[in-house]
Amino acid sequence: MIRQNPELSQKPFVLITREANRVFTSALSKKAISMGFVPEMSLTDIRAAVPDILYYDLNPEQDIRCLRGLLRWASRFTPRVAREDGNNLYLDIAGASHLFGGEDRLLNEIQSQLKRFGFTVRLAIADNRSAAWGFAHYGKGRSNITGEVLRDASKDLPVEALGMSYASTNLCQRLGLKQIGSLLDLLRASLTSRIGWRDLNRIDRFFGRAADAKQFARHRERLIEERQFFDPLATNAGVETALETLLEKLCRRLLPLQQGIRKASLRLERVDHEMLSFSVEMIQPSVNIDALKRMFSYHFEQLDVGFGIDCMILAAEQTAPLSCHQLGLEDSKKHGHDETLNNLVNELSNMFGNRHVQHFSPADSHLPERAFNRRAALYAIREQSWTRPQVKRPLRLLKKPVSVLVRDKGDKKPPETVYWGGKECHLTALAGPERIAPDWWREDPEWRSGERDYWWAKTGSGAIVWLYGVSCGQTDQWFVHGLGS
């Protein structure tokens, strides 16, 4: 948060979590900690002390996203990185530290870079994961505990650092075993009977006597193809040709993996360091070079190469397994049809943006306008089950009901003469009314006027309209909501 608006760093503020009726702090800024506040305090108490303290809702998803980003960043030091619950990142630096000039220098590097990002970090290098966790959380802000020093260094660490269960930790503290050192002096057998083998195993893991398995995030192969040009590309045709070779390379890499491109992005660096980027999405994973190239070429209409393109980077941002279909003989025609349809949706989505090409999908509501959604066709599921309504529904619905001005006062029946779009219009009521009540549990400005009585009517010019009346005070108001039948 501080990274987003730097002036916050000078102010005390807290992040709060709401739980039932309780609002308590879950994280505090440095300034707030220095004022004597601690996590898990109720917000009311804090505001009693400092009325104008800033507080924000904690956003766990954002935290996780941020940690994921850090994880990606950390993969520059070692390919084996992992994240665990809480804000813990693990890096397996076995065999990687010498690349950065030793463990201490690696630690320095990480610390300085993270500090520059604006993070407060606690770092520890240890022989195993449990020890690293313990030292990072309860040791000094930065420690390098490897090999022989572990036993000595851990003597002064509080027992919490062992990561034992809450009961065992509590027990140890009650017995006066505040530090790990005093725990180690005890007999192993007596310790087992007190705290159980499970927590004893934790101690063993801490000292590297038991295996400490940790699954590291699998390092994903980056599907990126890059090409730099000695002589900058000065024409669109040149860019297209270069794109073709890049696509060819990328698809050749994808084929053995049986993966197809779902989403790809292309970045063009101009000589004047201007960056142009385009991305395309496919409805189905594809390694079809021509199709992909055509998708990109729609964007090239607006391409301004300027003084030339220096560098092209093509990345497959999202891939998915290529689906294989066993085709029956009679299916082949239908399959071909589906394919052309998919291609069409693809092309339109990429030309006009995927939110402009849509499919209908059903929704669960009795209100006419809420009973369906429009989803981007690129992501929509085509096979949906629609339930046929019992009562007659119009062919078209107005997104915003149009108010028709009434001249004569109606008695709950549709008026005979209305003014629609500034023109006089004669109505003949055909059928109705059908009463639709709003969702009382939802505050919907459209339905604030209460229940609606829907009628079918025919206009003098020969159109069928679906209109409703709502009573507001003395007068009735009429709105056209649907057309055709």
């Binding site: 049809h337 052309t340 349809l341 291609n343 069409l344 949706v345 092309e347 339109l348 030309m351 006009f352 402009h356 090409v357 849509q358 499919h359 209908f360 059903p362 006419p368 009973a371 369906f372 429009r374 066709a377 085509r382 096979e383 949906q384 629609w386 046929r388 309504p389 007659k392 529904r393 119009p394 062919l395 078209r396 619905l397 107005l398 997104k399 915003k400 149009v402 629609w420 779009g421 023109k423 219009c425 055909l430 059928a431 079918w456 025919k458 206009t459 003098g460 010019s461 020969g462 159109a463 069928i464 309209v465 649907g482 057309l483 055709g484 039948s485």
Partner: protein
């Protein structure tokens, strides 16, 4: 005979293919006037207060995927449950909404040329120019797609003759509802432009339960109406005697 063969040839030349592909209505009178049915791979214009209803009849007859192209700021949209009631699967509807008319025409061109959908409904607020129509006609000519240009006007105030009489659409229709009940709808069809013959006028009854079409004879009872409608037909196509 020779006359009709010659006409056939002219159409074929215009459409750029040798044989006509048609979608018959199943009503002998209308099919005869259109010489077999409404042409596939061609553009047709539909306007009038009940244009949506009539396109629905054609869509149901065609029964394939439908692409509906309209401007984003259009206040109305197809209602899936209404489509369901008129035997059209909403899942086969592709909605394309464009921000400006340039994109709309571009999308229309792509969809018409792709031959992936059965019907293309192009919703326009104002009549297309001669060039635009011709371009769309060229796009669609080698496909089995039915191109429908929809120009709805519910209040029926704008005179139909003021709208795009110059366009190169193969047929032009003006539709309005005559009579409506829960069971049936009677619509009045004016074929105001017909490349295959003279303009005509029918009353068609649509059965809501079975979705069958019946032709209602314009009987003596409606003699006054007919006289009235003749004047309408004359107003609609002033170039026709």
């Amino acid at each position: 005979m020779k006359h009709s063969a010659l006409r056939e040839q002219i159409i074929a030349l215009e459409l750029g293919r040798s044989e006509r592909q048609v979608l018959p209505f199943g009503l002998p009178d209308i099919d005869e006037a259109l010489q077999g049915g409404i042409d596939l791979g061609a553009m047709h214009e539909i306007s009038g207060p009940a244009a949506v209803l009539f396109t629905q009849v054609i869509i149901r007859q065609k029964g394939e995927e439908v692409a509906w192209l309209s401007m984003e700021n259009l206040n109305e949209e197809y209602y899936p449950y209404g489509l369901l009631q008129s035997e059209t699967d909403p899942a086969r509807f592709i909605v394309v909404r464009s921000q400006n008319s340039r994109d709309l025409l571009k999308a229309a061109y792509e969809v018409l040329a792709s031959n992936a959908v059965g019907c293309v409904l192009l919703e326009v607020q104002e009549a297309l120019t001669q060039t635009q129509m011709r371009k769309l006609q060229i796009a669609v000519k080698n496909t089995r797609t039915l191109g429908l240009i929809l120009n709805t006007d519910y209040t029926g105030s704008a005179a139909p003759e003021s709208k795009g009489l110059l366009g190169s659409a193969l047929t032009r229709w003006y539709v309005q509802v005559l009579h409506w009940t829960y069971e049936t709808t009677q619509i009045e069809l004016y074929l105001t432009k017909n490349r295959h013959g003279s303009p005509c006028h029918w009353i068609v009854e649509i059965d809501h339960a079975t979705h069958h079409l019946h032709l209602v004879p314009i009987s003596g009872k409606r003699a006054i109406d007919q006289a009235e409608s003749r004047t309408v037909a004359e107003a609609l196509c002033p170039d026709h005697p």
